[in-house]
C-alpha cells in the first residue's frame, strides 16, 4: 500500500484504458490541428514577427488543450462512483493524485510533441538562443499547468457545472507560470534575453504547488 506502488498501478490502469479508446488523444489532436491551422491563416508572418509571438501562441494553445484534457481527468472515476471504491480503500490519497497528475502530464506532453513540429513548420521557427533550454521549459511549464489542473478538476467535481469551473479556478493561479513559459520561450526564440530567471521561477512554482497539492489533496478527496 505504499504510495509509489499504488501510483504506478493506477497510472498503468489509466494509460491502458486511454489507449484502448483513443478518445482523449484524438480530441486533443483534433483541437491542436485546429489551433495551428487557424493561426496559420490568421496571417503568415515573416520569420522575425513569428518569433515575437510564437511563444505566446504555442503556450496559449497548450493551455487550452490542457484544459480540455484536464476536464476529463475524473470522468472515469465518477462513472459508477468508482471513486467511492478508492475512498473506502486504505490506499493513500496522494497516490491517486500523483497518478492522475502524471497521466495528464503524459497526455499534454504527447499533445505538445504533436503540435510543436506543426508550429515550427508553419512559422519557420528557428531559435536564436540556446534551443535545448526549451525542453526543461516545456517540461516544467507542462507540469505547472497539470499539477494545479488535476487538483482543481478534483475540486470542481464537487461543484455545479464542472467543465466551466476548471478554467475559472486554474487560469488566475496559473498566470505567473504562464508568464514564465511565454517569456522564457520567446527569450530563447529571439535570443535577446536569458531565460534563466524564468526557468528558476517555473521550478519554484512547480515545487510550491506540488507540495501544497500533496498536503491538501487528502482532505479534498474525502470531502463528502
Amino acid at each position: 500500500m505504499s504510495t509509489p506502488t499504488i501510483t504506478q498501478a493506477t497510472l498503468t490502469k489509466d494509460l491502458r484504458l486511454e489507449w484502448r479508446s483513443k478518445d482523449a488523444i484524438n480530441s486533443m489532436l483534433f483541437f491542436a490541428l485546429l489551433v495551428v491551422v487557424i493561426f496559420s491563416f490568421s496571417f503568415n508572418p515573416t520569420a522575425e514577427e513569428s518569433r515575437q509571438i510564437a511563444g505566446g501562441l504555442i503556450w496559449v494553445a497548450f493551455l487550452f488543450a490542457a484544459v480540455v484534457a484536464l476536464n476529463q481527468t475524473w470522468a472515469r472515476e465518477l462513472r459508477n462512483q468508482v471513486l467511492d471504491a478508492y475512498r473506502i480503500s486504505p490506499a493513500p490519497a496522494n497516490a491517486l493524485f500523483l497518478a492522475k497528475a502524471i497521466g495528464n502530464f503524459v497526455f499534454v506532453s504527447v499533445l505538445e510533441a504533436l503540435m510543436t513540429p506543426l508550429f515550427i513548420v508553419f512559422y519557420t521557427l528557428r531559435a536564436l538562443g540556446p534551443a535545448w533550454q526549451l525542453i526543461p521549459i516545456a517540461a516544467l511549464g507542462t507540469w505547472a499547468l497539470v499539477v494545479n489542473g488535476t487538483f482543481f478538476a478534483a475540486m470542481s467535481i464537487r461543484t455545479r457545472s464542472r467543465e466551466i469551473m476548471l478554467p475559472l479556478l486554474l487560469f488566475p493561479i496559473s498566470i505567473p507560470a504562464l508568464l514564465a513559459m511565454v517569456e522564457a520561450t520567446s527569450a530563447i526564440l529571439t535570443g535577446e534575453a536569458s531565460a534563466r530567471f524564468w526557468i528558476v521561477l517555473l521550478a519554484v512554482y512547480d515545487l510550491v504547488f506540488t507540495t501544497v497539492s500533496l498536503l491538501l489533496f487528502e482532505s479534498i478527496l474525502h470531502a463528502e
Binding site: 490502469k13 484504458l17 471504491a85 478508492y86 480503500s89 486504505p90
Partner: protein
C-alpha cells in the same frame, strides 16, 4: 430506540449511538442507536427512503454523521479501520471498460495485495468465469451485481456492508450467494445485508433489523413472514 432483544454479552464490534444524518434540511437518519455483536449476519429491512443506504454509507466512512457517534472495532473513526470493511453499493463501483479480472486486480493492489489467485477465487465464489474477457460494461445486470460483490469481499474484511446484493440476481445464484455469506459469517465475519427479499435470508440471518423513516424500529430474531408480506 428499544434496545436489541438479543443484546449480546460479548463486546459489540459495531456500536452506534444516536446517529443523525442530514442532507440540507432533510434528515435521512434521525437518531439511530444500536449495538452489533461480531460474527453475526444482520439483515436490514425497510421501505424505500427509510435510510438504509445512508446508514451503510456512514458505516463505510463514505459520509460523515451530522451528529452522534459510531464505534467500529473499538475505533471511533471508520476510516481508521478501512482494511477491515468491505462495502457493496447500488452502483457497481467497477470500471465499465475493464474486464472483471482487470478490475479486481486493480482493487487488490489498492489493498496492498497482488496475487491473481485471490482475484480468481473471488470471482469464482460468485459463480462467474474469471477468464471472461468481456468488459464489465457489457455484462448483464446480474453479472455486474455479482462482480461487485466479488470486489467487496476481495480483501476478506472483518465487516461486510452489502446494499441490496441480490437485486437483479436470479434466485438460484441469490441462494448460492446467501450460502456464501452464511459460511463467511461462520468464519467470523460480521455481515450487514440490506435487501427487499428477506425471504432469501430466512434461516440464514441471525437477526432482522427493521428501519422506518430514518430510525431502527424493530430488531427480531427470526423473520415472521407475516410482517413483511
Amino acid at each position: 430506540m428499544n434496545p436489541s432483544p438479543t443484546a449480546p454479552p460479548v463486546s459489540p464490534i459495531v456500536s452506534i449511538t444516536n446517529l443523525i444524518k442530514q442532507f440540507g434540511r432533510f434528515a435521512a437518519l434521525r437518531g439511530v442507536s444500536a449495538d452489533f455483536a461480531p460474527a453475526r449476519l444482520y439483515t436490514i429491512l425497510g421501505d424505500n427512503g427509510a435510510g438504509k443506504t445512508t446508514l451503510l454509507r456512514t458505516l463505510a466512512g463514505l459520509s460523515s454523521p451530522t451528529r452522534g457517534t459510531l464505534n467500529m472495532l473499538g475505533n471511533s473513526d471508520p476510516r481508521a479501520v478501512r482494511e477491515q470493511v468491505g462495502y457493496m453499493a447500488h452502483p457497481s463501483l467497477l470500471y465499465d471498460e475493464m474486464s472483471g479480472m482487470e478490475n479486481l486486480r486493480y482493487f487488490a493492489r489498492l489493498y496492498g495485495m497482488d496475487d491473481d489467485q485471490r482475484c480468481r477465487s473471488a470471482i469464482a465464489s460468485v459463480k462467474l468465469d474469471p477468464d471472461l474477457s468481456r468488459p464489465v460494461g457489457q455484462y448483464s445486470q446480474g453479472m455486474r451485481q455479482r462482480m461487485s460483490l466479488a470486489r467487496a469481499v476481495l480483501h476478506d474484511p472483518k465487516i461486510l456492508l452489502l446494499d441490496e446484493p441480490f437485486s437483479n440476481v436470479d434466485i438460484g445464484s441469490a441462494r448460492q450467494m446467501v450460502h456464501l455469506l452464511a459460511e463467511m459469517r461462520d468464519r467470523g465475519k460480521t455481515i450487514f445485508v440490506v435487501t427487499h427479499q428477506p425471504s432469501l435470508l430466512d434461516g440464514a440471518a441471525d437477526e432482522f433489523i427493521w428501519m422506518e423513516s430514518g430510525k431502527i424500529v424493530r430488531r427480531t430474531r427470526d423473520l415472521k413472514l407475516a410482517e413483511v408480506l
